[in-house]
């Protein structure tokens, strides 16, 4: 068992979410930075989609009442066990009675802590993910909560350290225009491809909210609500783009000007408030 001494600003249980239920109004949810969740699980010999902890700006303190093997990935944050520093992206053994502290990341937002055996919890619609928009899945961790370890499903991997690319100073996201690029003026699209945006503090698991040049609609009538994909760059009436992340609504009534490349969505998920962000607009796909 693990005791949560401090839960930090926002720590949730996440896995790969609930794909395939959007027609019932249920979004995918799950880890916003899925490659980091997968890596953390691989490092401790779990199936890639095992439930793990997703922290937001660290601040997590856990006391282990039994021995465990953990791995930390995603936003690089100081990791200490009983005051002794350990590296990220490598399995770390924690003995019974020890206290693990995960500090504020130096870059990025979300740090993942996988536990060998995963976390034992009740699944909601096949997933342990906390969906903050739909209010599905377990509540975010609170101080004093306990977390039950699951059972290891496979052997420990042969590798003991994974190399990952460092998070960039300026976030550049590849994006393709559409499906509603034609609802905007031509120079708005040009502006989207050239402008320097800044990530705002209003960003969360639902979406990344940006400050910067507003985009202007060419068509001003109301768009009937339509299905939304992860990475969609939606433009609300104030013209400032929102990039939708894991807990995004299933449908939306504002036009989507472009969609971020799936491989770059994890970069968006790690973009910090105040960080500069640009779109590298690519040719339309159709």
């Amino acid at each position: 068992m693990i005791e949560v001494l401090r839960a930090g600003p926002l720590t949730t249980l996440q896995d790969l979410g609930r794909p395939g239920l959007a027609h019932l109004g249920v979004g995918r949810s799950g880890a916003v930075d899925r490659p980091s969740l997968r890596l953390a699980n691989r490092l401790v010999g779990n199936p890639e989609g095992a439930p793990a902890l997703e922290t937001t700006f660290g601040g997590l303190v856990l006391r282990f009442t039994e021995a465990a093997t953990v791995a930390v990935t995603g936003a690089p944050a100081p990791l200490c066990v009983d005051g002794r520093a350990h590296a990220g992206c490598t399995p770390v053994t924690v003995r019974a009675g020890q206290v693990l502290e995960l500090g504020m990341p130096t870059r990025g937002v979300r740090t993942y802590l996988a536990l060998r055996g995963g976390v034992a919890c009740e699944l909601v619609l096949g997933s342990a993910a906390t969906d903050l928009l739909s209010r599905l899945g377990p509540a975010p961790l609170r101080d004093g909560d306990t977390v039950e370890l699951g059972r290891p499903a496979g052997p420990m991997p042969g590798v003991d350290h994974a190399a990952v690319a460092p998070l960039p100073d300026e976030v550049v996201l590849r994006a393709v225009p559409g499906p509603r690029a034609d609802w905007f003026t031509d120079d708005s699209l040009t502006r989207l491809g050239r402008a320097a945006y800044e990530v705002t503090a209003a960003s969360d698991r639902i979406g990344l909210r940006l400050e910067g040049p507003a985009l202007t609609r060419g068509r001003t009538h109301e768009l009937p609500s339509e299905g939304i994909v992860e990475g969609a760059v939606q433009v609300p009436p104030d013209g400032r783009p929102v990039i939708f992340l894991a807990d995004h609504p299933v449908t939306g009534g504002y036009p989507v000007v472009a969609v971020v490349h799936p491989e770059d969505v994890p970069l968006a998920a790690q973009a910090r408030p105040g960080q500069p962000l640009r779109f590298a607009l690519q040719r339309p796909l159709l």
């Binding site: 027609h23 019932l24 109004g25 393709v176 499906p179 609500s225 339509e226 299905g227 490349h261």
Partner: protein, 209 residues
């Protein structure tokens, strides 16, 4: 269908002419997927004028487009006579007088007409289990409230535009409230958890307060 639009690398947005076409296409796609004809497809999301098809990296825009072209959407029977739900409603909503005023009918006539129609779930969204029902009386097409409510009680039966909706859980909302139901709209222990999935036929029965 009129147009295919790319919704990023893993999505295709199919634009339809009208809502009945959306419902027919969604039903046809669901059947095709159940028959194994749409490998790699993750989600089929019907909405007011579109169906969004999302897929994983084993499929592509062109594969989904090819599959779409091979479907006979017209032949699809988008009604599911085997899938009919009765929802008992107590018609005492806070906006009943306003709906009567907007439609030029008496409150009694609003209630009678709302209960007389047969509805179908066109699509869901807004919240888990929130269904957009069509098929209502044309006289009961009313706009949303000028100011949305911050708190709409769970089970509220409401009107907006051509749609009837039922709030599966408490939350904010701008629809005109005409009644309430105790029907279990969202139950995680049921498969599927939503009582009202796209295509389901719905009849409202009147229940005295």
């Amino acid at each position: 269908m009129t147009r295919l639009l790319a919704a990023g690398h893993r999505g295709l947005l199919v634009e339809c002419d009208d809502l009945p076409q959306v419902m027919a296409l969604h039903r046809t796609l669901e059947e095709a997927r159940a028959g194994g004809a749409l490998p790699g497809v993750v989600d089929l999301v019907p909405a007011a004028r579109t169906v969004l098809v999302t897929f994983d990296d084993t499929s592509s825009h062109s594969r989904v487009a090819e599959a779409l072209a091979s479907l006979d959407v017209r032949a699809a029977d988008h009604e599911r006579p085997d899938h009919e739900v009765e929802v008992a409603v107590t018609y005492d909503g806070d906006d009943l007088d306003e709906v009567a005023r907007l439609s030029g009918l008496s409150v009694e006539e609003v209630v009678r007409r709302h209960g007389a129609a047969t509805y179908r779930v066109a699509f869901t969204g807004f919240a888990p289990g929130f269904a957009y029902l069509v098929g209502g009386d044309a006289a009961l097409v009313v706009p949303r409230r000028g100011t949305p409510r911050t708190r709409v009680p769970r089970g509220s039966v409401a009107l907006a535009g051509e749609f009837t909706g039922i709030y599966p859980q408490e939350g904010p909302g701008g629809w005109q409230l005409i009644g309430r139901t105790e029907a279990p709209l969202w139950d995680l222990d049921r498969q599927p958890p939503a009582l009202l999935a796209p295509g389901t036929r719905v009849r409202f029965t009147r229940r005295d307060p």
